[in-house]
Amino acid sequence: MAGMAREPVVLYIISVVVFLAVWQAVSMSTTPLFLPSPGEVAAAVPSLVGSGALTDATLSTLYVFLAGLALGVAAGVPLGIVLGRFQVLNGVTYIPVTTFYSMPFVALIPLLVIWTGLGVETKAIIVFIASVFPILINTQAGIQQTNHRLLEMATSFGATEQQKLMDISIPFSVPYIMSGIRIAVGRAIVAAIVAELTTSISGLGGLLSYYGNEFATAKMMVPLVMVAFISLALTYAVKKMEERLGRWRLT
């Protein structure tokens, strides 16, 4: 079998270098308060690492993110399978699911704060709401779009409905589920930071807000870069997982 396309690592490195060079150039034409140079941001790293603030904030954000996303997967996949399998439920749930998916989850935050307070749970719930619907909708689509000829083949061999679901519909849906998770990861990281900015101040969002209010722009950029790294790493991880699980599609 032909291997996966090799990553163009050299191009990646060049793009990062160019980005840093542009950043450096722009920062030299303005003040460090407005845009500190990459060097000044790097210089701010030791103080944040030394105090443990960066590590604590990162772990706190990751915890909220992972807890919410895990709940989203744990609820979204089974619900999507059930909704995909039973046409009637599909009709009943279409409007609420579509509404929740398309409305900005940020609008729900004040209500959630009233219901569940300002703690970590609230933040995880916000991430959950942001991530569950794309997973649910994609899983449902995968189950519904399962090649009906494959199902008929199984029928001709006398497969039960349960066997058809387990052997055909669910494996067929895996690439759909993975695209749902990819979308959910993007939404979840946004939700985690927004939750930290709008409920009780904590995590990387909290650091951003704190240093922003202090006008310590260089220090503020450190959690920002961290968020960028986390997003990049997660996107890469999901992409790799998608390629692995959906390998049979690459024909």
Binding site: M1, R149, L150, E152, M153, A154, T155, S156, F157, G158, A159, T160, Q163, D167, I168, P171, V174, W248, R249, L250, T251
Partner: protein, 269 residues
């Protein structure tokens, strides 16, 4: 008693045509009209007819995948009302599970049919028979069309059905692969002595493989004629092609088919 008895089978489909926004016209189209025939045990029967006639529909009703409007199909005298464990189907689009290996694909049918005997041994036997040895752990997309259809054939044979139903199984293969597969199917048929019902649009293929050929008319399909293929078995497919019996049969079948094709054209179908 026939192994398979098809009795006054009729089937029509509703076709929905959209006419503008929200308006649709439902028309009924007859696919199969009052078809009756029998297939003896171990016999190889081919069904041919003009393109778009109800060959596949007829086979699907025998397979229990489609309910007839009227009439019935009996296997060993028993009426079919759904997929029967005595039958197995080989599809033109093969329908392998792309995420499973060759071995797992062949095992699938055995698992669904609840075969209590050793599944692994049965799979090995049929992998051998269809010439897939060494390819057990390949995935379908790593195989050529011909190899994929071998998997489809092994999957069906492994459940040891008494009747094998084949819906244009070699229709999408190139000429060379097709010839090889025809030869192997002929060999498998003479070795395993299963009853085979084979749908094809290729008249030569039908002659080479069959004992009897059922010619259907254009839609709605009725039986035009049932033709005996008087060629000795085992047949050397290559030699058979140059025999005078083959040439005569091909001419006869083609004339019969052409008549139907021209009729369809005249109606404007």
């Amino acid at each position: 008693m026939y192994k398979i008895q098809v009795d006054h089978l009729s089937k029509s489909f509703n076709s929905i045509k959209k006419k503008g926004v929200g308006r649709q016209v439902v028309s009924t189209m007859a696919a199969i009209d009052d078809v009756t025939f029998g297939v003896e045990a171990t016999e190889f029967l081919s069904i041919v007819g003009p393109s778009g006639c109800g060959k596949t529909t007829l086979l699907r009703m025998v397979a229990g995948l489609e309910k007839p409007d009227r009439g019935e199909v009996r296997i060993d005298g028993e009426r079919i009302s759904g997929p029967s464990p005595k039958l197995c189907m080989v599809f033109q689009d093969i329908l392998l599970l792309p995420w499973k290996t060759v071995r797992a694909n062949i095992e699938l049918g055995l698992r669904y049919r609840n075969h209590s005997n050793d599944i692994a041994a049965a799979v090995d036997r049929y992998i051998d028979l269809v010439g897939l040895k060494g390819f057990e752990s390949y995935y379908p997309h790593q195989l050529s069309g011909g190899m994929q259809q071998r998997v489809g054939l092994a999957r069906a044979l492994a459940v040891e059905p008494e009747v094998l139903l084949m819906d244009e199984p070699f229709g999408s293969l190139d000429a060379q692969t097709r010839y090889i597969m025809q030869r192997e199917l002929a060999a498998i048929h003479s070795k395993l002595r299963r009853t085979i019902v084979f749908v094809t649009h290729d008249l030569e293929e039908a002659i080479l493989l069959s004992d009897k050929i059922l010619m259907l008319t254009g839609r709605p399909s009725r039986i035009k004629e049932m033709i005996q293929v008087r060629l000795r078995r085992p047949r050397d497919l290559y030699d058979v092609k140059s025999s005078s019996v083959f040439a005569e049969l091909r001419k006869k079948l083609w004339n019969s088919l052409e008549e139907e094709i021209l009729k369809v054209k005249a109606v404007g179908g």
